[in-house]
C-alpha cells in the first residue's frame, strides 16, 4: 500500500527550531518528488516547495524561499520540513504529498498520495 506517514503534532515557542518529517512506504521513494503544502487555520492550501528524493534537488515557492528548509534522507525514505526560528504565523497544518513532476519533460500530473498532516502550533 502506497502511503506517506508524517510525524506527530508539535507545540513550540516563538524563536524555537523545528523539523517535521514525511516517510514514504510502498513505492520507490527515490524516483519521485515530495511536495509540502501549508494550511493555516480556517484557510486554503498553499504550495511551499518540492524535493526530489533521488538527488535532493529542491524547488521553493517564492513565498516560502528563505523561510523554510526542505531536505531529505533517501536512506530512510524520509523528507523533512524545517524552521530555524519559528514565528506565531507558522501555526498551521502541514501536508506532504507525492508530487508527480517529470522535470526532464517538464510534465506535471499533480499531487496524488497525501500524508495525514502535521499540526504545528507556535505560541508563547
Amino acid at each position: 500500500d502506497v502511503q506517506l506517514v508524517q510525524s506527530g503534532a508539535e507545540v513550540k515557542k516563538p524563536g524555537e527550531s523545528l523539523r517535521i518529517s514525511c516517510q514514504g512506504f510502498g513505492y520507490s521513494f527515490t524516483s519521485y518528488w515530495i511536495g509540502w503544502v501549508r494550511q493555516m487555520p480556517g484557510k486554503g492550501l498553499e504550495w511551499m516547495g518540492t524535493i526530489y528524493l533521488g538527488d535532493s534537488d529542491t524547488r521553493y515557492s517564492p513565498s516560502f524561499q528563505g523561510q523554510v528548509i526542505i531536505s531529505a534522507d533517501k536512506s530512510t525514505n524520509t523528507a523533512y520540513l524545517q524552521w530555524i526560528r519559528l514565528q506565531a504565523s507558522d501555526t498551521a497544518t502541514y501536508y506532504c504529498a507525492r508530487n508527480n513532476w517529470n522535470y526532464v519533460l517538464d510534465y506535471y500530473s499533480g499531487l496524488d498520495v497525501w500524508g495525514q498532516g502535521t499540526t504545528v502550533t507556535v505560541s508563547s
Partner: protein, 110 residues
C-alpha cells in the same frame, strides 16, 4: 503577482450539476498549466480528484470531470451527492517545478 482565482462559494441541489472554475489574473489557463483539482473536508487531508486537466485519479467517481472552458480550467460535478459538500481547490503548474493553488471554493449541497 500571479493569483489563481476560484469562486469563494457555490451551492448545488442534490442531483444537480455544478461547474467550478479556476482562472489566472495574468493569463488564460490552458492545458499547459496542467490543472489539477483536490477535494477537502474539514479535518482531513486533501483528496486528489483530477490531474492533467481531465484525468480522474484512481477511485474517483465518474460524476467528477475536468476540462478547459474558455480561458479557465473547470471541474464539473454531474449528479451532485450530499457527500460532495466540501472545499475544492485547483492547482496550476507554473513551470520550473513551482505550483500555485487557488483560494478554494466551498461547495454546499442543499
Amino acid at each position: 503577482q500571479t493569483v489563481v482565482t476560484q469562486e469563494p462559494s457555490f451551492s448545488v441541489s442534490p442531483g444537480g450539476t455544478v461547474t467550478l472554475t479556476c482562472g489566472l489574473n495574468s493569463d488564460s489557463v490552458s492545458a499547459y498549466y496542467y490543472p489539477s483539482w483536490y477535494q477537502q473536508t474539514p479535518g482531513q487531508p486533501p483528496r486528489t480528484l483530477i490531474y492533467d486537466t481531465s484525468t480522474r485519479s484512481s477511485g474517483v467517481p465518474g460524476r467528477f470531470s475536468g476540462s478547459i472552458l474558455g480561458n479557465k480550467a473547470a471541474l464539473t460535478i454531474t449528479g451532485a451527492q450530499a457527500d460532495d459538500d466540501s472545499n475544492y481547490y485547483c492547482a496550476l503548474y507554473m513551470g520550473s517545478g513551482v505550483v500555485l493553488f487557488g483560494g478554494g471554493t466551498k461547495l454546499t449541497v442543499l
